[in-house]
Symmetry: C2
Subunit: 151 residues, 2 copies
């Protein structure tokens, strides 16, 4: 952990930043769904048209995986991240269509030092997955553990 | 939607069932992490040993994706599932190691008919991901939409 890396102290509450660009292809939707979520509305265009999704759309877990990649490239690989104990909430708000260009808007909701582990702190984020720079297709709230500068 | 499929009415509150068998390989851990969660503790054994995970372990999102596959094969592909609006909570309780054999224990927590859409209802589940038939490595609470028999 070098000083240049992002630490617990570098995520002020209220800060909002946007990053990333990931073009979702039809092939990637079908590949992920075929391996992990083979429900007809993620695999078959005809079945998808008559489903609640109204057309082929990515698995919600695929959206989560892509958001994780955008978060890694956007800040986690340059941070003292120690992982996350879990996820507070995920909302899938709109179908994620082939061709969408995805980015992430991250807002810091809160942060607190760990009492039991003085070398780390938890930062609570709201992550919004944006399609084509505007539509929010997914939100996710979770806390991530980071190393502290003071430690 | 045929009568033989599982409908909203077929998930009584309090029911617990266990299903599935998925052997997690080191190669699968590295492949998923390389694509979606390239943090060192999911990709590199030496880095993982000095991390909180204490050794190479799968991405938490990989665990979610595998659980989704086990749920598809275990009941969703034989059900009138219409997808899910989101996830209430995910907890990553223990590192998911190479070689683990994964299964799912599903408990029905609650169910309610939709007021706005009489043809469907929501069933709230607790899903527990079990490693080697006993250790709970992840829990997940979420509601899934199903077609109703009465409709």
């Amino acid at each position: 952990m070098t000083a240049a890396m992002l630490h617990f102290e570098d995520f002020p509450t209220g800060e909002t930043v946007t990053y990333g660009s990931y073009t979702l292809t039809r092939e990637a939707i079908l590949e992920f769904a075929g391996e992990y979520d083979p429900q007809p509305f993620h695999l078959d265009e005809t079945a998808a048209e008559t489903s609640l999704l109204g057309g082929l759309a990515a698995s919600g877990w695929h959206a989560c995986a892509i958001m994780m990649r955008l978060n890694c490239d956007g800040f986690l690989l340059d941070a003292t991240s120690m992982g996350a104990p879990g996820i507070d909430e995920v909302k899938w708000l709109a179908p994620l269509r082939p061709g969408a260009v995805l980015s992430v808007r991250r807002t810091t909701l809160d942060s607190r030092a760990s009492k039991s582990r003085p070398e780390m702190g938890l930062v609570k984020f709201l992550f919004e997955l944006l399609a084509d720079g505007e539509a929010v297709v997914m939100t996710q709230a979770c806390s991530i553990m980071f190393g502290r500068r003071a430690a």
